[in-house]
Every structure is written in structure tokens, then in C-alpha cells.
Amino acid sequence: MPAIASLKEILEDIYVEPGEDARRLARRYGYLEYMVERYIRILGSSAEDLLEAIEDQSILKPVARCNNLRIDCKRLEERLRNLGFEVRRLEWSREAIEILRTPGSPTPGSTHEYLKGYYYLHRDSSPLIPPLNMDLGVGDSVLDTCAAPGGKTTYIAQLTGDKGLVVANDISLDRIRSLVSNIARMGFKSIAVTRGDARRIKEVVGRKFNRILVDAPCSAEGYIMIDPGRKRRTDQKSLAALVRRQIEILASAIEILEPGGILVYSTCSIAPEENEYVVSRVLDIYDDEIFLREPSLSIWSRGIEDLWIKRISPEVRRCIRTWPHIHKTGGSFTCVIGRR
């Protein structure tokens, strides 16, 4: 494994000093000041739109991702309507049924259809973006390095027709229990679950893959609306530690990406430190071995090159961002990395 930047070096690269506007908005919305300073630097006058959007938990519309290997999606849509759900199909994923309104009972996670494995319940549509950009085909072998609780893993199994091999790794036993229950509930047979540290994924899986998903553990800064405690949880030093771990995980996965292979890096964060910066640092490390690919499905915003953070690669414009105030979803990041 190549040497990864030290915590001190990362902190120096990402550090930002809050200005007066950031202090004022941070007080009003209850954030750490540096967080708001970043939003102002990235979004300018739209920063407050973002802060307002995050205040509204109802912008997140749950998505029932139909398990088309078990049920016809039109039939599922009909069954959900009959139960009193107001739903609509998303145009960009043929399996996604967005839930606009739920009846008092049952909840989307307690219907018989759910227990029978006819769908996976996502908080919103953003988690569908990374698997859809992996260019998957029936029978592919895929590694998901941080897989639990399995939303993306089971989607990958669907997109590969449940005919290849999906290796789903996670470090936490509690989360693996959730992962296995989702796999068993939905009836997938092509998934193998491993337990190990994604920073040393080569030791865990012992082979190379042509398709890899790194859905890195993150600050969840894109989903503050469901956990407002995150407005003040991650200071810049803790963020630097998270970033270092993300670089380690991503670099470890690149080590086992086959030539010509595709790796998708994703987070549920809008923090550029965890996104554009992590990808740029890894581009630095692997220099001419890897490059950022144009995503095959991109109807969202793009990665940001013009940042206060040092060492950002211009290639990050190829990455995908979702923003709560623009796309009415959680904030997320997806970047497609190719290996030469």
C-alpha cells in the first residue's frame, strides 16, 4: 500500500476559517461555524437555500426499490397503491417506486410485500445512483467493500441478474446481521458476505475484481435532516480523521481493481473534503494508473473543482453531486474511477 497523507497534512489542506456571515448563519441554524463557511464558499447566496432545505425532513421521499427478480414492478406499484400508498415511478431507474405519501398503517417497512422481499426500502433515491453507474452486466463479479445494511449490494445483485458473484464486506457484526437479513428476505443467491476492515480489503477477499463499490463510511453531512445532531458533531479535526480513513479505504480497493475495471466511490455527504478531496488525493497517489470516467447516468450536479482546499484535481468535474435544495434528496457524491 502506498503512503497515505498524515492527519496533520490533511487538516492543513482542508482547514477553513469561518467569516462573519458564516458565524451569523451558523448561530441561526445551529451548525458548527466552519461547516457553514464551506457552504457559503461553494454555493454563494444559495447557501441559505441549502440550510433551509435541510430543515425540512419531508424533502426525503422514501423509495421502494422493486425486486424485479421476484415480482413485476407494475404489480408491486399496484399493490402499494391498494394499501393506500401514493407512489410514482422514477424515470431514471426502472426499479424505483417513490413513495409520496404513506397511509397511517402499514408503514413502508412493515408491509407483507416488504417481508416477502418484493422491495428494498431506501430513505430516498440517492443511494440508487452509485450502482447504476457501475456499468454492470448479467453475471459480473462485484465487490462492495462497505456493504451493510445492503441497499446498494442487493441492487447490484439485481443488476447482475443474481447470476454473478457479489462479495459484500463489512466490519460491523451488528450491521452484517442487517445485511444478511436483507439478502435472505429478498432471496438473492449470488451474494457472499465477508467481515473485515475495508482498509485492508486485499487481505479480506484475496483476489481482484473488475467492478468495485466503495460506499465509504462518512459524516452523513448530506442527511442532517434526519439527524440534526450532525450539525455540530464533526469538527475539522474529526473530519480530517474521517477523510484519512476514506483515502485508506479507497486506496485499498484500487489495489485490487483489475486493469480496465471500474470502481465507484460514493458517500452520503456534501462535504467536499470527503468527496472531491479524497478522490483527488487518490488520483495523486495512483497518478497515471487511474482516471475519472464520465458517469453513464448523470442528471444531477457535478463535482466542484474550484475550492479553498489544496490539491483538488480538475478531473473531479466528472463526479456527481446531489444537493438537498436542488434535487430534493439527501446530499450525496458519486465518482466513477477507471483503471488503465
Partner: protein, 186 residues
């Protein structure tokens, strides 16, 4: 993972349960050959899975569930019964539940006499039966018959509606009930 001898023993027991309703030759072709047992995930149960081919890495869990082991006894997994009914083209040793019965069963309750809507013979008191939701013909659980088919019909005729007909051993709501909540995916 368990050793081969233990896996062979459980597989034989599973075939024994299924052979009460089907000829061994009928079901053997419906059951995959490679079994694995995973025991360290959930309290009190082991999951027996079938894998189609060997996987060249060390894993905790793989394949599709065919059985569950509770207190050392193996029971067919609902998905396996579903596959056997499909593969043989013949549903045996099962009951269909009414909509209230389906709901109650998925919450871990026994199936009451009043909720048995259709009986698929043969089975006797004490046998393992599949519980089917007629709305989509899905097997929603496995249970132990507490009454013979004839006794169920008699109990129905006598209005003994609240008497349990099938004891709930495992149902598709089980995972949801035992899992500690973990952060949902963002």
C-alpha cells in the same frame, strides 16, 4: 461454518422431513447439493444455505437459505418449500391462511383454526407444514401442525375458531423482529 459430517447429518434430516410428503427422488432434484451452515449471526438460530458453486474466499454467509436450525432441529426455510412446490408442480403438507391469519403469522403468532382456508394433504399432527398466503401463493412461514387435517375441519365445523392449528416455528417477519435497529442506508 460447520464440518462436513454435521452438514450431511442436517441435510439428511431435512430430506427426512420433506420425504413425509414427497418421494425422495422427487425432491432431491429440487434441492441444491452444496450446503453451508452459518451460526454466529442471530441468537438461537443457524441458517443453512445452499450455494451453486464453490466460492474462492473465506466468507461468513453465502447462497440462498434452505433451512433454519433451532435448538439443534432443522426446519425447511420458506423459500425452499416454495421451490419444492414449484419444482414438483405439487403443493403438499401445507395450509393456506386467510388474510387475518397471514398478518398474525407474520407477526410470529400461531395460525388459528378460523384462519385455515385450504389444506394440502398429506400431513399429520406434529408434521412440519408450509403456511401459504393465497394472495400471491408465497410461502410465508413454516410451522408444526397441531391438528390432523380432519381435526382442523372438525374444529372448524364445531366453531373452535380460536384453537391453534399450526404452531409458528419461523416466518418471514422473524428477521425484522429480532434485529436491533441499525442506521438505515442514507
Amino acid at each position: 461454518m460447520r464440518d462436513r459430517e454435521e452438514i450431511r447429518r442436517y441435510k439428511e434430516k431435512l430430506l427426512g422431513i420433506l420425504s413425509r410428503a414427497y418421494k425422495r427422488t422427487e425432491i432431491i432434484k429440487c434441492i441444491p447439493q452444496r450446503f453451508k451452515i452459518t451460526c454466529n449471526l442471530y441468537p438461537g438460530i443457524c441458517i443453512v444455505t445452499a450455494i451453486e458453486s464453490e466460492i474462492d474466499l473465506k466468507y461468513m454467509y453465502a447462497g440462498s437459505p434452505v433451512g433454519i436450525i433451532i435448538n439443534g432441529e432443522i426446519y425447511p426455510y420458506p423459500g425452499l418449500l416454495q421451490e419444492i412446490y414449484r419444482c414438483t408442480g405439487d403443493t403438499r403438507s401445507a395450509v393456506e391462511a386467510g388474510s387475518q391469519g397471514v398478518k398474525a403469522y407474520l407477526y410470529g403468532n400461531d395460525l388459528l383454526v378460523a384462519s385455515v382456508e385450504k389444506i394440502y394433504r398429506p400431513f399429520r399432527r406434529g408434521d412440519i407444514v408450509g403456511v401459504i398466503d393465497p394472495s400471491d401463493r408465497r410461502v410465508i412461514g413454516v410451522g408444526r401442525a397441531l391438528l390432523d387435517p380432519r381435526e382442523i375441519l372438525r374444529a372448524k365445523a364445531m366453531g373452535r375458531d380460536t384453537e391453534a392449528a399450526v404452531e409458528n416455528i419461523f416466518d418471514l417477519g422473524w428477521f425484522l423482529r429480532v434485529l436491533k435497529p441499525v442506521a438505515e442506508e442514507y
